[in-house]
Amino acid sequence: MALTLEEVQKVAHLARLTLAPDELIIMQGQLSGILDYISMLNELELADVPPTTQVTDLHNVLRADTVRPSLPRDDVLANAPQQQDGMFRVKAIFDENA
């Protein structure tokens, strides 16, 4: 199944990946090839087959609702590219003028 360049761009946007124009074209070819291969699954009649979402057969795993210490804030912030006043620093998400 061949993907269009527009579809590849849309997926890159959904995945929040900046891809260079030439990489979009390479990706278009490679993804189309892989999807072609994957289409072999269409050979199978699956109407009565339930999906397997996980293989543990465990359901509704619960734990006691007890308080336990979390990681110290400084340890967690130590890996942040930008921090300020004991918090992660990010660029504004909302445009105040919009």
Partner: protein, 485 residues
């Protein structure tokens, strides 16, 4: 005395117990070996010599005063760099996490620490464990100790190469679709992917959450049994870890195969398999028969669908898991004009090509309008693959099969064709998809390169796998062959 770094874990343990060697001398021997061969092998991303020698001296002191904590007390091991190590950089082979220092230990790591193991350092791998050659590491390729022009396999290529090069007595790897088993085969060492849920995934940087398992690599099945015994068991921090009791794996190693029914699935001898690999694996199966196992041909009819199922499920789960890398809380950040541009630049510039490709594939498979056609369909076929194994294990105790269709290939050989690289995993994917355990033992050579026999077992029956692998290693000496580095 033999050079200490060449010992197996069981041999080293006996010498430590009898007081003939110290952990410090053993650990120093590993670092001397690393100094001698690492420039050819390049298995390590980080060597923690100071920490290791301190752990070794501590182990020696404790052993003198109170005896050994465990079979791993004072044993030098190395850890794949997708497993979180508190205070020690954990990069996942990615530029994204080049400077990331976890504030906590993975449960498997914490359990090795509690057992008193010595950590030599962190091992190279394909970026975020995505690959079959370790060429996808953002830092450098690892070389196969048997022929340094060839790949060690992947994604746990650093783990397999470090053991094969005798730089470490054992290692932890992780296996999502074959990432412990295929490099073990290509480097001529023993490797185990446990049952899904057998070992906690807490602190294993997530790739495909319904598939990922941490597993040991070492020279022998016995050594893998020792490591598995230390890391297995329920963990409240991983809701998918199994509450099943952990048996005494060493007690299961009776050297006996008599009465065991072993199935050989005809579908695993795939078209395009190298004749030398097939002949070597068939000879190993004949050796199992000579030891008293009953060999029966079986069919796992949906084997050929494992690859397409995997390349939907694993990338889909990866695309969700890797959404966390936003350049805000950890990892690197690549500036853009606004928040969204910064996010997309961070991810576009710091994930490597294979990781970007899998995120794209997974995002597409989960996107509106395609979910039923891809992800749900793959999960339905996953049911069929699982049923294949359930039916087979009603008849046989174990399955014996090849691990990979070829011996280690040349570095750069599969660079331009992702699908050709994916085909490397065709024999290991079904057990991953079904969640059942797989053990690889060295079983001979083809073109002067190692070949591995894959044994697949019932869920949570690692004991029988290890027993069969150990018995095979009583009758053969392939696990005693060492590369001439």
């Amino acid at each position: 005395m033999t050079e200490l770094h060449t010992l197996t874990i069981a041999e080293a343990r006996a010498l430590l117990d009898s007081g003939e060697i110290t952990s410090e001398a053993l650990t120093e021997s590993c670092f001397e070996r690393i100094a001698a061969v690492e420039n050819q092998v390049r298995a390590f991303l980080d060597i923690t010599e100071e920490l290791a020698l301190e752990q070794a001296r501590q182990a020696d002191l404790e052993r003198q005063s109170g005896g050994a904590r465990s079979a791993l007390h004072g044993i030098p091991l190395a850890i794949k760099d997708v497993i979180s190590t508190k205070g020690v950089t954990t990069t996942c082979g990615s530029k994204m996490l080049e400077n990331y220092v976890p504030p906590f230990d993975a449960t498997a790591m914490a359990r090795l620490n509690a057992a008193g193991a010595v950590m030599l350092g962190k091992l190279n791998c394909d970026e975020f464990a995505m690959g079959s050659s370790t060429e996808n590491s953002a830092f450098f390729a690892t070389h196969n100790p048997w022929d340094t022009a060839r790949v060690p396999g992947g994604s746990s290529g650093g783990s397999a190469a470090a053991v094969a090069a005798m730089e470490a007595l054992g290692a932890l790897g992780s296996d999502t679709g074959g990432s412990v088993r295929q490099p073990a085969a290509l480097c001529g060492v023993t490797g185990l992917k446990p049952t899904y849920g057998r070992v906690s995934r807490y602190g294993l940087v997530a790739f495909g959450s319904s598939l990922d398992q941490i597993g040991p690599l070492a020279w022998t099945a016995r050594d893998c049994a020792i490591i598995l015994g230390a890391i297995a068991g329920h963990d409240p921090l991983d809701a998918t870890s199994a509450p099943e009791p952990v048996p005494d794996y060493l007690a299961a190693l009776d050297g006996n195969l008599a009465g065991l029914r072993i199935g050989v699935p005809r579908e695993y001898f795939v078209e395009g398999m190298q004749p030398g690999v097939e002949a070597t694996v068939r000879a190993a199966i004949a050796a199992l028969k000579d030891q008293g196992a009953q060999i029966v041909e079986i069919s796992l009819p949906h084997t050929r669908y494992a690859l397409p199922v995997y390349y939907i499920i694993a990338p889909a789960e990866a695309s969700a898991n890797l959404a966390r890398f936003d350049g805000v809380r950890y990892g690197v950040q690549s500036e853009g004009d606004d928040y969204w541009q910064t996010l997309a630049n961070t991810r576009g510039q710091n994930f490597g090509p294979e990781v970007r490709r899998r995120i794209m594939l997974g995002t597409y498979a989960l996107s509106a309008g395609y979910y039923d056609a891809y992800y749900k369909r793959a999960q339905q076929v996953r049911t069929l693959i699982r049923r294949d194994f359930q039916q087979a294990f009603a008849e046989v105790d174990l399955i014996a099969a090849p691990t990979a269709p070829s011996v280690a290939f040349k570095i750069g050989e599969h660079n331009d064709d992702p699908l050709a690289m994916y085909l490397e995993d065709v024999c290991t994917l079904p057990a991953s998809i079904a969640g059942v355990p797989g053990l690889v033992v060295p079983c001979g050579f083809s073109e002067h390169m190692p070949v591995g026999l894959q044994l697949i077992g019932r869920p949570f029956d690692e004991a029988t796998l290890l027993r069969a692998g150990d018995a095979f290693q009583h009758a053969t000496d392939w696990h005693k062959r060492r590369p001439a580095l």
